[in-house]
Symmetry: C2
Subunit: 421 residues, 2 copies
């Protein structure tokens, strides 16, 4: 078990046990009772190895990044330094919103290894809950809180430009992960690309139509530029429903390895866009009847509530801290309630438009790009699946192209509901 | 003459001579003939010391930054590291556009000292030429070339996102200078601030109207956010007519100490906005008659030609390099002439709007903020000056608020011409 280049070596169940024994911070989390410990690799994600470590005196999770894309193999290299940015973001977002982020116990930069809080059963990955048709009454409230806090406090509404530029510079180092997003979200779906796939032959025409939709492609270029250029806040960067673990009364956001200073709408859009995908997948989970009807209503309600609660919480933070450190809107300039209101209205309206654009782009890439979602993949029947996917695509194209015309989330819900059967 | 903290010591004529003698790169520029050298401090700028060094065998200019704002004194500290970013930008922009940027001979980081090409007489500062009513037939052509090259080649139209993020991170270090801009351009003019001044009492009402113009202030907040968040290209950051030296056939851009990755429109707007100021100042330089009439026409023509030539050159570079390294518009996505055209049209239209917004903000701050321009200051008569300034302010407010409605520079010219007398 010799140390490899730069002190990095990929662990397995056995060498991980040795590693834990040699690491006091991890032993402490296990109550220093290392006999009878069980270690189980559960990484169902695309990129990394995740081990659940449970012993008689405590538990933890170990996540290790390897220098390539796990689900493709070492033919697709990817900076293992993503682990550093994941640890940094977990700590920063955890500080801002401890209720919804697992605690970090340990970080080993050379090993690209994070030791963190084990989000225990009955927590499951939200996406699986959405496929199973389970309602989460607090999901909208919790995600609104997570997004409002993490985004507000890392934006220029709270930061001085001094601390903002320093943080922006640091996260510029996570460029490899940004590039992955740029490729798989903003580029590959709009051209013929090696790893693209879709439900063929049913969606052949849909995929081609996307590659030939000039108006759509011009809008996507603007979104890509915004993603690359605009350091608005420290975003999670991969906030789909597979990065959220839930029970009926708890919501935990994991996996911010794509974190960097980017547009807020990319996070909000990722979450809402994946809820919309879940919505359109429901018809594929129904039997003959319409037994998922009420659940579809619940998803739409959750989309609407998430935005509205996010809006409310974000504005509350803004009002509460309006005389604070933030330098975007100085209180001796934006000095009257009606002016403050006007500024906030414009800010939130722009944010809704960005959210719809990015959310729609994330929907499209999950249907005609490399990485698909279990919501659709779990629909066995190709024809049925393609029907669901087709409707989701139609919805996404409309939201993306017409995003600047929306004034409320209610209008978005109407569009989702009006996609022809 | 002991070295001070970090190897920095502020030079004077005498110690500079010693410094030159001890620096081979500088001696070489003087043909190694150091007898009979004359040194003259000419810094008319607000921040730094500039020495012209002329000898029998050659000449050069030495620019040294001091750790405060020169025109205010050491009560206003300012990072002398600005010199590092000025040297970096001079070299980068000089590599991209050598015809319009002085060559850098020497850079001493601890000393915050740049040795560069002496832009010799008959070159004068453009602002002085504009006040004197001198036409520069190649100015539009040259500035369009400078802006097209420096902005295009440092944007994602040419950069990979890898090189872009690395460069962005580096220039985040120039935060002190960005903060100065944020304060004096986007904040102070819109509130009561210590160093604000205007032609009182004539403009008292105008200054107050600006502080109470809610619609204007909301737009200014958006421009400020864009300035702070959007890393579109390596901009000069201070591209007013005092940073340009001209003869009838040469145009040289100096003083990029504010350089960082920001919105392109900030540079283009600085130049055009200062030309508009020059336009409105002309009536203050006229005698009883209208002898500056033809010159005003020339200024308007120069504004129009600058934008149109910039547009043309920028698009030419884009077309020429469309299969190149840039990652904003990949050639296998933006793969048809009509799509390329559509994308470019949208890009340039957005850029015009940004240009007008930033240009107008720069106009406003020169009339009611801390740093005024000689174009107006040289008008002795207060009433006459305030008349010119008032009209420039009216024009700026209109351009700023209505910027997104402009489709061509011709429409901008019409607005300038239609400002009531
Ligand atoms: N802190 C945790 N507690 C419990 N399970 C976790 C935790 N972190 C990750 N997991 C499990 O491991 C899976 C993969 O983790 P994730 O961080 O998403 O890795 P990847 O970056 O490879 O997608 C998750 O879907 C979840 O099931
Ligand atoms: N390379 C140069 N050649 C000739 N004159 C120069 C040169 N650089 C600066 N100057 C003169 O010095 C003045 C101040 O220089 P500048 O770089 O604008 O300093 P500041 O940053 O203090 O504004 C200019 O207005 C110009 O007259
Ligand atoms: Mg994951
Ligand atoms: Mg991940
Ligand atoms: Mg200057
Ligand atoms: Mg040159
Ligand atoms: Mg300067």
């Amino acid at each position: 078990m010799a140390a490899a280049a730069g002190g990095f070596r990929a662990l397995d169940d056995k060498s991980l046990l040795e590693y834990i024994k040699a690491t006091p911070a991890l032993c402490a989390q296990l109550g220093n009772q290392l006999d009878g410990i069980s270690i189980k690799e559960v990484g169902d994600g695309n990129l990394n190895f995740v081990y659940i470590v449970v012993g008689p005196g405590g538990s933890l999770v170990i996540k290790q990044a390897v220098p390539y894309v796990r689900c493709v193999g070492d033919s697709w290299p990817l900076a293992k330094e993503r682990s550093y940015f994941e640890a940094l973001a977990l700590k920063e977002h955890g500080r801002l919103c401890p209720d919804h982020v697992p605690e970090v116990y340990h970080f080993d930069r050379p090993m690209s290894l994070i030791g963190m809080q084990y989000i225990k059963p009955p927590h499951i990955i939200l996406r699986k809950g959405l496929i199973a048709g389970i309602e989460y009454p607090l999901l909208a409230e919790h995600m609104a809180e997570y997004m409002a806090k993490t985004l507000y406090f890392t934006s220029l509404l709270h930061h001085s430009t001094l601390e903002h530029r320093a943080a922006v510079a640091e996260y510029c180092g996570n460029v490899d992960l940004c590039r992955l997003t740029e490729q798989v979200v903003f580029s590959d779906p709009y051209k013929i690309a090696q790893y693209n796939r879709w439900t063929s032959p049913y969606l052949d025409h849909d995929a081609e139509a996307i590659r030939e939709d000039d108006a759509l492609k011009v809008e996507v270029a603007e979104l890509k530029s915004m993603f690359c250029e605009r350091a608005q806040a420290l975003i999670h960067g991969d906030l789909h429903t597979g990065s959220i673990m839930v029970t009926s009364d708890s919501t935990q956001v994991i996996d911010p390895e794509f974190a960097f200073y980017g547009p807020m709408g990319f996070d909000i859009g990722a979450f809402l866009g994946n809820l919309i995908l879940a919505f359109f997948a429901q018809d594929g989970h129904s039997g003959q009847g319409n037994e998922r009807g009420p659940y579809k209503k619940w998803i739409l309600k959750t989309i609407e509530e998430t935005w509205n609660l996010f809006h409310q919480k974000f504005i509350s933070l803004w009002n509460e801290h309006k005389d604070g450190t933030g330098e975007a809107y100085l209180s001796d300039i934006y000095n009257k309630p009606e002016l403050q209101l006007l500024a906030q209205k414009k800010y939130m309206s722009n944010l809704l438009h960005d959210t719809l654009g990015f959310g729609a782009a994330k929907m499209i890439r999950r249907i005609v790009g490399i990485a698909h979602v279990e919501d659709f993949e779990s629909i066995q029947d190709d024809r049925k699946r393609s029907y669901c996917e087709h409707r989701a695509l139609e919805c996404a194209k409309k939201l993306l192209k017409e995003r600047c015309q929306f004034e409320s989330i209610g209008q978005v819900i109407s569009v989702i509901q009006a996609i022809p059967v």
